[in-house]
Symmetry: C2
Subunit: 332 residues, 2 copies
Amino acid sequence: MPDSKKVTLSDVAKVAGVSLSTASKALNGSARISEATRARIEEVARRLDFQPNALAQSFARGRSQTIGILTQNAIGTWSAPILVGAASYLGRHEHATLFYDAAFDAEVLEASIRRLRARRIDGLLVIGDGPHYNLRSVTHSFSVPVTYVFTSTDGPDDATFVPDGVMAGRLAAQHLLEIGRRRVAHLTAADDIAATERLQGLTEGLAAAGLAPVAVHAQRDWSEETGAATATALLRSGVEFDAIFCGNDHVARGAEKVLLAAGLRVPDDVALVGVDNWEGTIVGQGTRHLTTIDPLLSRLGTAAAKDVLSADHVGGRQPQPCVLVIGETTVG
Amino acid sequence: MPDSKKVTLSDVAKVAGVSLSTASKALNGSARISEATRARIEEVARRLDFQPNALAQSFARGRSQTIGILTQNAIGTWSAPILVGAASYLGRHEHATLFYDAAFDAEVLEASIRRLRARRIDGLLVIGDGPHYNLRSVTHSFSVPVTYVFTSTDGPDDATFVPDGVMAGRLAAQHLLEIGRRRVAHLTAADDIAATERLQGLTEGLAAAGLAPVAVHAQRDWSEETGAATATALLRSGVEFDAIFCGNDHVARGAEKVLLAAGLRVPDDVALVGVDNWEGTIVGQGTRHLTTIDPLLSRLGTAAAKDVLSADHVGGRQPQPCVLVIGETTVG
DNA sequence: CTGAAAGCGCTTACAG
DNA sequence: CTGAAAGCGCTTACAG
């Protein structure tokens, strides 16, 4: 049965013996229509396998039932789970998603914005590449709601959905305290919004037990190299520690290598917690090695999609919960 | 400037002092229009910042300029690069993408198909979860071209774009021969289309040098456990080997652990080649460890997108090239 | 080369 | 509760 043999609403109306407008109202729920009429029209529609032409509906209504999704870097590993979380929520709520990838390119971005506007989207989701730096706000280019995910923007009122970095730090602290650690060091990236939040959470979490981080080492980025370098610095400093909260999983991996090479045991001598749950994204993994904080990116996408669709689309930063994922580096 | 202040084509026509139809023709390239008129209309359109209402255009033309993308498992790591490759090609060619994820669920799939049809897509890309098993063909549900990517289907005439498994095997063989290996073993999954192809390529590649695989061990799946188990079996068998071509990267990882535990050196004693380029998907990695065959998934998505858009949309299986990526496990 | 007119398939005030 | 009619903003034969 290739395509809806072009059964049109007037076909339905004709067969059901009613006017076009009555048929339309009956099928769209609202409006006062006698139950009998409605039932008859619905029966006919079903029998003829009537599929309303969504193009015509959108055009007539002036709403496209489509949400634009604009990624900065779709190929990056972050975007996929967010995209999927958002798209599946939107799909369940009768909205299609119109997907463009700007690939960090200003011209492509400009072209994408033009096309999204031409397509009369009902809202836009902008997926960033991490809450680390400020994206240029594009809200002013649209008259429909714009919601940002996994990024910060230079528009202070923009609705931005990001993982709660403070919560991440607090969860790490609580877990380390629970397994009896008291001397927690922190290795992370410098000059980074997310890093700052995570440290704040760690500090708050430890403070609840009357403690503070025994050391904080920060370098430029979030790489394995940074992890190795800061771990080396930590060892050399002579500070005593029985746990490290690492700014992310890469840092944790670098730190672990250095610790093991120095003859320390993980977790017996030093417990290790990361952030991101990299392992979770890799299929076919057996045991879970690294204890980490999962930013629940798919859920983040869902939350943002819900926001962009909602009548009272919110503004401002909207931190979303993370969860602790326990692995061998804290509970051998 | 929120949204295109509803400047309409008739506004442009009025200002330019021409009829609606002339304005339309001038802006759409075709039709014989005097250069002077066309220039004037274009100038007015630009000046008024006219953005054609894509909804109205689609409706009038009966074509949506939209390609549906249906994933079986969007959250799986395979889909993302394919999706991005396809979407960015389509974006560059003035087509939007309408994204639905079936999440391996038959009911969701059914609903997605209904919606895609209602939206009058101009073509459909179905992204699978690997060429390992046959997807149920949905081609008959559409009157527009349907192209499959990274999957097999039960429709023999379906256009399916898959990585060339034979080429993958051949590339591995050639590389191993080039670095002087003569005794190549193969560890892989059983009862799998892709596995069979890769073995065939390996066999062909070795045959060119008058050789054959010294051993082939296959187990149920593609996991790290399978790699470890088959590598153990290989070691116990007493067969001499100086290289292993592994069915995929997970298998290679499992095999490497077993080899190292047995006191063998990689690559000095045994060179190791995988398939998939898992490492390539993980950002922030430093050195490349595993030599592998990259299936170029993003390119695969692009090729499929090109096909679905092309007038002479092809049928049948369309194997696409892979490339060798050299790492420490063959060239220490 | 240019324009008047019909039509794409719906929705939605407005009357009745 | 039901229907006649206008309209959404374009495209596209068809005349001229």
